[in-house]
Symmetry: C3
Subunit: 467 residues, 3 copies
């Protein structure tokens, strides 16, 4: 089997001037914009001593830092190690998976701090940031990491940065519409993060359809150790998901409840995933692709409702269903999407984020619509759905309707945004690789010689790996 | 060297119907039982706003969530990444190690929430759960992960689920006897988790003795990278053990003290492990098996006493001794147990959990018996041992006696339970593999072709890996 | 290519008696010293119930444990997994990287608890420890882990222990001079940890210069999977650095602010690192060495100033610059240091810790000198710089001068200490390996047979790996 020499590639994939230019210009822009706009919020500012007195706080422990920082760190791990390593399953794209995820997330969180700041933390001409802003920025790039999963291995780092720039912008607009205009609850982001991020990514990969992708088919699989690296990502996502869904919930019972619901949903999801993974394979063997991905669907699917009174058994039901849907998706939908709809979804984000995200939005709408003062308590009811001010008269069923509207808006934003951004990424200036060099680190990374030859030449000892 | 073709196996190891059936039936049962019994505890319920006022709490930070959630997440990592990756040291059983650990733990925590809930959190016909229940459920399956270490590579996933079901049940009964009937202190679980879990697992593996296991001897070792994967597990267990031992201690000084004692014990344990690992090997080279395991014995051995006034130097002594005992165990006891007592202990849990667990129980009994009002303070003394109500008149020496009784009860429960469960697992219906296919992922997992051939055929280039 | 047989080594590298002797004697000394000196601090002692009343604390949540324990655990992960795995990039030194790092850190934290305790927590003849002492001990060995990076692969474990012993001692003296005598602020340790640790290590490696190190050049590189293991270390260091820099800051706004500044600096650093990594390579490909290391420089460079009012845009500027300096360092300075100054710096700590550490010290001095009551608020200003007691009259510009003096003192301590300790380590009694056996686990570790032969013999199938 002849492997195309990388030197002979038709396309110019050199990043030497393009990538530095984009990164440096961007960073200069960030410095200027942060200089103009971003300041410490009250709880991170040295004036806090005085503010504390004014707010009648008797202890530093009342600082929001202590309510949210541990969850923030867990979310941070999910974005960088979780998503990064989850995508290392490909045999020859580990550097790209973890390295590009690192790049786009570091790039995106800066822009997200600004975009979300303008919408939510803007006061007297300044964006005032605290730990909650850091969490929200991580959440926002989380949606980009999801979209990255669909196009993994097929794009240049510049394309990823361009996509990140636009997606963070659109994410923030969509989030503003949902949270502020529709007054929708979505603390764990089933709609804003997962539904939006996944359908955005799927639309982009549809636009970027590569008809000759089977030329790099030999590199689309995993090897034994790459599957273990991916399990690191899986487990950190799975373990810390209770922190993800509870990180920005109200202090006290809401954070507590979110963590419990998510814990239960994820546990159930593992069992149904294993069951269907075994059942849908002729010899009944388990498939690492399912274990790595579908076990996480339970976290996605309670993203909206975790902070509500979903109850532990409700969580088990949602987790069970999402594990089944996701596993079935990997077996039947992904091949269908690729062959019929020309949607090449490298990581199967349709199964892990899109469908479970929709389930999450729907479960959230139903749970909100079913809320009663009896279940929440009079004060708890108002607090949970923030039925104050202009929303004082909103009823649960109306809230359910708005929640459902949030799903629709997220979908529309994702399709429209994905189509436009996909079109931009299709321009022939971004340095993406030819089809036969997809899923190959060697295009954009210095790769150590030896190991490369291990994989390619091991059964051809007469073809030396290193000259 | 002829490798037996997997197709030619005498035993039917297909999981296609058995595993899905067990998982799905179980999950349905869980949903029903959770629906009937499990509700949010007061601190996770939306009525918390009202409860807070009744309890005169002025801040949400008083919610137990903020006292225990960071420790919970650390414990969660220990169970899923710690135990999971610790067992990936085998060259061809990485998927099984991390994947089956994932399966049994997710399965077990649901049942543990119920079992422990009935014993400890049952009120007006409902189990009221909060973050402490999540920690306790993780602890409970921790004992199953330990037992899994003894039978690693030799059982089918169904056997693991059956074992989990019974072991969680017995664990909860044993825990109830110790904590409630004997009024024993064991926050880090030297007795309830380690002694019970390890001797249970050792008894099971004794009953399941495989006389022909040397047929898969070539797969019982590690390769270079599998040893590094295992070190991920080791280090997360080691680093987070202070959280493990302090997670359910009393708020304040007790949690603080537990973390310090465990930190000290583990540091000392590393040094004595390294010393004995080098000393007991002819050429003085260090053995990764010892570093991966015996360095953790110090955490096990202060499990009972960490929240007591063990003192930092006491912790160093306990840690030093347990590192020595554990390393010596790997060199001398494990081969003895296998050849003479027919106990095939894949991970050496006898050295890492059984003996250090016993040490932990004994140290706990001594530390309790030696307690004085002078050392603890009048109030601290009562609080530390909960000498209130019917236990108001209990003296330290009597407490020490009860602690010692707790060790004996745990041992008896482990032996009896292990014998019965081992007998059940011996039934020829669970689909376990033949001796020559032990320690081999290929039996229950889809394994990528290439890497498999890397390991088996690399020195036989004329025998192609993929047809 | 003939590989020298390890049996034929000229040097005696057997650790069989030396390593156990050092470890065991040391541990006995630790037990004695801890027995004489170390006790629980008030917040970890069972008398806390009474102290709480005296201090008018109404809740256990006021215990310092809850302010710092989550950060402590993050720091703990950075020391053991972060530094340990960061150094696993070498193809044949993964056991040594992660294992020796484990050994020296466990060894060092015990001695650090004593040394730092005598200087900072000594009261009535006893060292009273709490969670802050654990963090500081971790910080102290952090500086040893940094120095280890320079000599990685070239020293015996005994040399590492000897170095640790002396470096921890000198670290504590230097820290005392800076924090107590010069009244310098350095919560994230740009000076005390990074500048001191790195120049100490560089001096040691200069003294231990090996002229024939090119004999093991084939083992100084990475393989594909070793680079992925190293990324685990990188990411954990990167993600948890906000905890590192905020762990021992004042409660409240200072911890909050440190985390935000560090988060911003690190995000910017990733972008400039990627930009320069691509720009400085002929084909524009990214180099994993830069991604693994230079992306972290932003955390080092705000170590001193993170808790000050550096502001988010200030952090972006510092992070951007340090990423550039560090990447340029890897490309140009490291080869220069080796060829001209005979400084063989295995991990490039000069780029990751030394230069960014200096930047951090300078930025800290400038930020302190530029402080005003307007920016900090009257009370915040006094609290931030602790301008109380004898320091009541200190002005920002004088503080800036003292900060600068702190850099100089740290450098002098590092050079002098490194020279002396390097001289001691040069004695021919410590069992270090010959030049041709550097970067090779086989010297001090039992290495599984198969994998070793995978790497060496794969292209020579007629040379069987296992006899």
């Amino acid at each position: 089997v002849e492997r195309p020499r990388l030197q002979g590639m038709a396309k110019n994939t050199s990043m030497r001037w393009r990538l530095p230019l984009v990164c440096l210009l961007w960073e200069v822009a960030m410095i200027v914009l942060f200089g103009v706009f971003v300041r410490f919020g009250a709880e991170a500012d040295a004036h806090w001593e005085e503010d504390k007195r004014e707010m009648n706080l008797t202890s530093d422990i009342e600082n929001d830092f202590y309510f949210r920082y541990p969850s923030f760190q867990d979310v941070h791990v999910m974005i960088f190690v979780g998503f990064g390593f989850l995508m290392t399953f490909l045999k020859r794209y580990g550097f790209g998976a973890v390295g590009f995820n690192f790049l786009l997330a570091a790039f995106g969180i800066q822009w997200a701090l600004l975009m979300q700041g303008w919408f939510h933390s803007f006061k007297d001409g300044k964006i005032l940031i605290g730990v909650e802003n850091l969490i929200n920025a991580d959440f926002c790039v989380g949606s980009v990491c999801i979209a990255f999963g669909a196009i993994l291995g097929k794009t240049s780092p510049i394309q990823l940065l361009v996509m990140t720039l636009f997606q963070v912008t659109l994410f923030s607009v969509n989030e503003y519409i949902l949270l502020n205009l529709l007054h929708v609850k979505d603390a764990g982001g089933s709609m804003t993060i997962h539904t939006f991020g996944a359908y955005f990514g799927l639309t982009v990969t549809r636009v970027l359809y590569r008809p000759n992708l089977e030329q790099s088919k030999d590199k689309q699989g995993s090897v034994y150790h790459s599957d273990l690296f991916a399990m690191i990502g899986t487990l950190y996502l799975w373990m810390y998901w209770p922190s993800f869904n509870s990180a920005i919930s109200d202090h006290g019972d809401a954070q507590h409840r979110s963590a419990i619901n998510t814990y239960c949903s994820l546990a159930a999801c593992v069992l149904t995933t294993m069951a269907f993974s075994s059942m849908l394979q002729k010899k009944g063997k388990l498939d690492m692709v399912h274990i790595q991905n579908a076990t996480l669907a339970g976290g996605v699917a309670v993203g909206t409702s975790a902070e509500m009174m979903l109850t532990p058994y409700g969580s088990l039901i949602v987790g069970s269903i999402s594990g089944i849907v996701s596993t079935v998706g990997y077996v039947y939908f992904t091949p269908f999407l690729e062959s019929r709809l020309h949607i090449q979804d490298t990581c199967g984000i349709h199964n892990l984020h899109a469908m479970p995200g929709l389930i999450g939005g729907i479960v959230g709408a139903i749970t909100a619509a079913a809320a009663t003062e009896d279940v929440y308590g009079k004060e708890g009811f108002i607090k949970a759905f923030d039925f104050t001010g202009v929303y004082q008269t909103r009823t649960p069923s109306i809230q359910g309707g708005f929640q459902a509207a949030g799903i629709v808006v997220s979908l529309l934003m994702a399709f429209a945004g994905g189509a436009i951004v996909g079109g931009i990424l299709k321009l022939p200036i971004w340095g993406d690789a030819a089809a036969e060099n997809c899923f190959e680190d060697d295009v954009y990374w210095e790769v150590p010689e030896d190991e490369e030859s291990d994989v390619y030449h091991m059964h051809n000892p007469d073809k030396p790996g290193s000259p």
